[in-house]
Amino acid sequence: MPRLGAVAGVVGLLTIVSLFVGVGDVTPASLANAVFGADDGSRHDVLLVLASRVPRTIAILLAGAGMAIAGQIMQLLSRNRFVEPSTAGTVESAAIGILAVTVLAPGAPVMVKMLVATVTALAGTALFLRILRHVPLRSVLVVPLVGLMLGGIINAVSTFFAYRLDLVQSLNTWMTGDFSGVLRGRYELLWLTFALVVVAYLVADRFTVAGMGQDFVTNLGMNYRAVLALGLSIVSMVTAVVVVTVGAIPFLGLVVPNVVALMFGDNLRRTAPWVALGGAGFVLVCDLLGRTVRYPYEVPIGVVVGVVGSAAFLFLLLRRGARVA
């Protein structure tokens, strides 16, 4: 079994690597030279790093950790391994909220967009869970299919209005994650996901028990509706923040929690650090890949996450069948 400290070390190392990869060469030596030397030319490099690489890397870590935790919470609340914000209509609902603000109050600050997106994401996810209650056959795969269909319908509505109002491009920015536009002053909202992850960790036991089902929740004296409301709020807000700042990162909330569950189970109190770290590390690796495979061009993070994630997931599914306890 890998150790948390070792994995944290690897992610730390990747973080440092990430700072030095990109168009415009910054090496550790030139950075040191700029800080300690008197060469004005290399100051430019430092500014480059500070103005784009640092925010970009922080954004990656925060979005990755946040979406992975959001996925894990969704899986516990819906009691289904294949549910995450992009298979439950949450992402699409957040996007329609942002679209509504963009149309109705074009000058509104990003904070307002985020809050409205949180509300619509919450409504969309609640609708998903409500529909689930009326689906007679709650088979493992029907549940995410329902979510995907709901997301498809919501997205169709968004696309219709976006098309009419010439906002298709904006809609695409929200629906496909991309870290290349991250600059200082445009990502700080993501720190909110950090706070939300901490909250999730503090109340982790409730989500784990919710994953055992309503009877266990009641038997242990918790209020099921309150746990559900809290969990959905965290998930919706994390999703809204990520969609508003960097765009949706699909699959992440599915792959990371499933890998962690296979190794360490679902006791969120114990696994939350793994899920958060795994999410951050996963996006970091995908981002590095996206920046290097076609250097100097970038492959969008959504594409890389999709490819790497689905491969990893297939591998796990097949291995799971073959594994002996």
Binding site: R79, N80, D205, T208, N219
Partner: protein, 263 residues
């Protein structure tokens, strides 16, 4: 002490629990018996507030289960349903430790850990404590769920068919444990069981249900009688005295044993 006052539960137009009136004194082992669909599980769930009642009232130690705060009730009453299917992966120890949640609220104290260790020991789960539940046998899993409920250390314990999937040795061990919990710690234990002889042997009180209502209740001697059991189950039941206790048998007269000979 459990008071069930005219409890009603309906699904559509069917009253599956139909005005049950029942008083179970504190400190005793009660078995609920009856045919499939009699409403035993539903009644147990109503008592444990796991289902909403459509009429009537249930009091546990004088507390109305529908209006009392759930976290208060969780320190007094613990219940296990007939079927428990987990989709999440937890270890036995995780599961049993969650039984302490009503007391610990997630901050596990050394005292909580003692309860966990004892519950694991009682149910013979120590060698399995760190295994995942989805990688265990049905009987092992059943013991883990019962360990969780016992770990909750409540005065009232409700168990719906706790002997499901258990081999005879573990079934006897579990019944002995429950009996000891009643005799030594003064707990009130209510079970649903299908094995009439388990009920006869271990209970202080037996409640026989049929069609959502209590048909007979009383001591084992009063309920374990051929005419009573035959009408409850709609099956001819004989009762024999074995080692001074009533013992029910309900298999039709045996066929003559066939011997094969290789000629």
């Amino acid at each position: 002490m459990i008071d069930v006052l005219d409890a009603v539960k309906t699904y559509g137009s069917v009253r599956v629990v139909d005005g049950v009136r029942l008083t179970l004194p504190a400190g005793g082992l009660t078995s609920i018996v009856g045919p499939n669909g009699a409403g035993k599980s539903t009644l147990l769930s109503l008592i444990a507030r796991l289902l909403e009642m459509d009429g009537g009232q249930v009091l546990v130690d004088g507390l109305d289960v529908t209006s009392t705060r759930s976290d208060v009730l969780a320190t007094r009453i613990a219940a296990l349903r007939q079927e428990n299917h987990l989709t999440s992966r937890l270890t036995v120890r995780d599961l049993v430790t969650f039984g302490r949640y009503p007391h610990s609220k997630g901050r596990t104290t050394p005292e909580d850990l003692e309860h966990v260790a004892r519950a694991l020991e009682f149910l013979d789960l120590e060698p399995l404590a760190d295994r995942f539940l989805d990688e265990m046998s049905g009987g092992q899993r059943q013991r883990a769920f019962v360990a969780m409920v016992l770990c909750q250390d409540t005065d009232v314990v409700l168990l719906d068919e706790p002997l499901n999937n258990l081999d005879p040795r573990h079934a006897v061990a579990m019944m002995e444990r429950l009996r000891a919990a009643v005799d030594e710690l003064g707990k009130t234990v209510v079970l649903v069981v299908h094995d009439i002889n388990v009920a006869a042997h271990y209970s202080d009180h037996i409640v026989a249900m049929c069609d959502g209502a209590v048909m007979v209740e009383g001591s084992p001697r009063e309920v374990i009688r051929p005419e009573v059991l035959s009408s409850v189950y709609g099956l001819p039941v004989e009762v024999h005295e074995i080692a001074g206790r009533p013992h029910a048998t309900y298999f039709p007269p045996g066929r003559p044993s066939v011997t094969f000979s290789i000629a």
